[in-house]
Amino acid sequence: MKRFTWNKLTSRYPALFALTLLVLSVLINVILQPNMFARDTLNSNMRVFLPMVILAAGQAIVILGGGIDISVGGIVSIINTILATRVGLEGSAETMWQYVAISLLIGILAGAINGFFVAYLRLQPIITTYATSFLFAGVALFILPNPGGGIPTSISEFYRSSIPLGLPLAFYVIAIILLVWGFLRSTRYGNFLFAVGGKAQAAYETAVPVTTIQFSTYVISGLMAAISGIAITMLSGSGNAESGSAMTLNSITAVVIGGTALSGGVGGVAGPMLGAITLGFIQNIISFAHIDTWWETFAKASIIVAALAIPGVINLFRRRRP
């Protein structure tokens, strides 16, 4: 009886699962890094996690709508390379904000390309966004063949140490995203999104504009990827065409541990964002656990696979129930 209620709880409130994992990983983190809750460390952690949190939010929306976006990493890379080359270390603040605006448009455009192929041409999301991921990675490499360039140090400083009203900048960004999502969720769009992700055929028969909704999720994902790209550029201060490549898998993992099913129609955005933070803490744990550097990549990748396996393992136990 107890397990039954747990299942019901997690399916009704998927973020609960993510929250549990987060608490666990924070606890372990604290053990390994006792000063974790010091203001500076917290600040530092948050701004490192922020790009992934933003990306996870965008990915969550696509996945809720029944699709998936493998090209987010590529979009992040494009934004990073554009900012690093067009603004440059010597650039002015105005140029920076100009290109921030342009980056957002590029993100929307990239998302629209994905959305066109998946929603209007009705191609499979996985293979389509895999193809565009390669295309986008090529564009990023074209813009910046070798790591270099950067953004004005004043801006990266702003990102690093800005604490309006005593809270790190990252908190505000996350809060804004959650507020916007909360609003969307409360509108018809929110219902449409879950309907399309849940059972597209039934949604279609109920006159939900399935194609438009699917298209919109990819545009949103592209936009979020662009914002994430801006954040990561501010974090690193420099340009690298590969900056986004590892982020795609992480964003998917964040969604999975965030309790949003990859099949769509179930979950939310808060869970995946929590999942991104959890992933960040777990990666911290690995760094602080003094594992041989050579083993780090293996450890991190194994954690990802383990995280991806969790829903499947839980399901296996569920099925054993008579």
Binding site: K8, S11, R12, F183, S186, T187, R188, G190, N191, F192, F194, A195, G197, G198, K199, A202, A203, E205, T206, A207, V208, G265, V266
Partner: protein
């Protein structure tokens, strides 16, 4: 609110099969018209024509005496036509309230959904069925957590929430228990008085006589009778439904009633929709399973074949067996011709040869002796009088009847001893049907045992030694010999038992 809808001489074709050749229906405000017909009579198609899901190929649709053409189901909805379907159009992961009001949610000035109002309106709708449903049915309950009867009620509420002029109830009572049906009928009476028009598509004779004012009977795609319900008897209605002038009439010659040993013994088997069946089958018998679709027949056959888990015991030729995978059943000489040939019986884009040999490739060793495989398949095809352009052609190029021959043929190649068939002649033309009957009879004479479900009562009567009618997952009646008549079969299928135990 007044409405009058007329469908006249409607024709509808689906990929070469004629579903309706002369469909007629008339319904006006304030009355309930029952649309009646056997499985495959065109009933479902008729209701789909009226609510805009399919486009008619011929004939006319008049709404309020004006010709009308529905471009989509939404167009029909705009005219006030709302339907409660058999196949659920709900989104399982979403709540009851969200499902009902999807695309019509009341909004505030920011575009946000007025949740309080949605909840209140949904509760008012749910209250219509108060007393007949469990208290777990709340506006915020996800549909996936509901049992089938409550899912059906949500479907009804969804259709009613449109405040339609014409409400089509297409087999809407199939999953409901007797109290819920009673409540639904009380609501229908109220809606009639409010001036709504109602089309009631159903099999259930008892319900039809309780609620309908007029009737319209379809048979083989044609409307063969219509009138006031109080001017006709049950018996005559059944006669209208039955095809007396069938193109063929097939009856098996009475076989010698020699004592044959028990071949298959089934004891208290439970699985999915199967709620405990026990029966036995003798060697060489042709036993039929009857009843409305969805009463457990499919699950019975799948359980026997090892495709779904089940509890209970099965004995085959004296040995207890419990198959966990079809290939175990196959090793014991079982074969299953499934109910949906495109989704379960065929590899649609592959060649006829590959479809024939799919269960049997292991016999042709390595490297596959394709030549021998072709010869065997050709022979099997010839035995079945299969009309094809060549074994290399994709099986999608075959007509329904011929495709079904491939499904049967792939099993006959293996010389099975026990054949399970799930509605094998569904969607098959009359000529091929006759060939199948001859085939099944011959197989029985050769000593094979056959257990098959059919939604066509004539088949069951003509072919079977015995017929077990399933209802609500249990065997409701067993008919044989003199009791195996058409009237009894139809009555057993239609005479729903009062109140399924829950």
């Amino acid at each position: 609110m007044t409405l009058s809808l007329s469908a006249r001489n409607v024709v509808k074709r689906y990929e070469g099969v004629i579903a309706l050749s002369d469909g007629n229906l008339e319904v006006n405000s304030g009355e309930v018209v029952a649309l009646i017909g056997a499985n495959g009579s065109g009933k479902s198609t008729m209701s789909k024509v009226i609510n805009g899901v399919v486009v008619l190929d011929g004939g006319q649709l008049l709404l309020d005496n004006k010709p009308v053409h529905f471009a989509s189901p939404q167009a029909a909805k705009k005219e006030g036509i709302s339907t409660v379907f058999q196949e659920l159009s709900l989104i399982p992961q979403m709540s009851v309230a969200d499902n009902i009001w999807l695309t019509r949610e009341p909004l505030d000035r920011f575009g946000r959904v007025r949740r309080k109002e949605v909840m209140a309106r949904t509760e008012a709708l749910i209250a219509l069925f108060e007393g007949t449903i469990k208290p777990d049915l709340k506006p915020e309950t996800p549909v996936s957590e509901l049992p089938p009867d409550e899912k059906q009620i949500v479907e009804i509420l969804k259709a009613v929430s449109f405040d339609p002029r014409l409400l089509i109830l297409d087999e809407a009572t199939a999953s409901l228990d007797s109290r819920q049906v009673q409540r639904l009928f009380e609501l229908v009476k109220k809606w009639k008085e409010e001036g709504k028009a109602i089309v009631f598509v159903s099999h259930r004779m008892e319900e039809i006589f309780r609620i309908a004012d007029r009737y319209s009977v379809l048979r083989n795609g044609k409307t063969v009778g219509a009138g006031n319900i109080n001017e006709i008897t049950e018996k005559d209605l059944i006669k209208l439904m039955i095809d007396k002038e069938s193109v063929f009439s097939y009856t098996r010659s009475e076989s010698e009633k020699a004592e044959k040993p028990v071949c298959l013994e089934v004891n208290d088997v439970h699985a999915d929709t199967l709620k405990g069946v026990s029966f036995y089958v003798n060697e060489g018998e042709l036993v039929g399973i009857g009843g409305l679709r969805g009463q457990g027949q499919r699950d019975l056959l799948l359980a026997l074949f090892g495709d779904i888990p089940f509890s209970g015991s099965i004995q085959y030729r004296g040995k207890p067996v419990h198959f966990r995978h079809p290939n175990q059943a196959m090793k014991n000489g079982f074969a299953l011709v499934p109910g949906d040939r495109n989704r379960e019986g065929l590899l649609y884009i592959r060649s006829i040869l590959e479809n024939f040999q799919l269960p049997s490739w292991a016999r042709y060793s390595f490297p596959l002796k394709l030549g021998k495989a072709r010869k065997d398949a050709e022979r099997a095809g010839a035995d079945l009088n299969l009309k094809m352009a060549g074994l290399q052609q994709p099986v999608s190029s075959l007509s329904g009847g011929n495709a079904q021959k491939v499904v049967i043929g792939k099993w006959l190649l293996r010389q099975p001893s026990l054949l399970l068939l799930d509605d094998p002649t569904k969607g098959v033309d009359v000529g091929t049907k006759a060939e199948f009957y001859a085939l099944l009879t011959r197989l029985c004479e050769e000593g094979k045992t056959i257990l098959f479900y059919s939604s066509d009562d004539e088949e069951l009567i003509g072919l079977c030694d015995r017929v077990m009618v399933l209802h609500d997952g249990k065997i409701y009646a067993e008919l044989a010999g003199s009791t195996l008549t058409h009237e009894n079969l139809v009555a057993a299928s239609l005479g729903v038992t009062e109140g399924g135990a829950r």
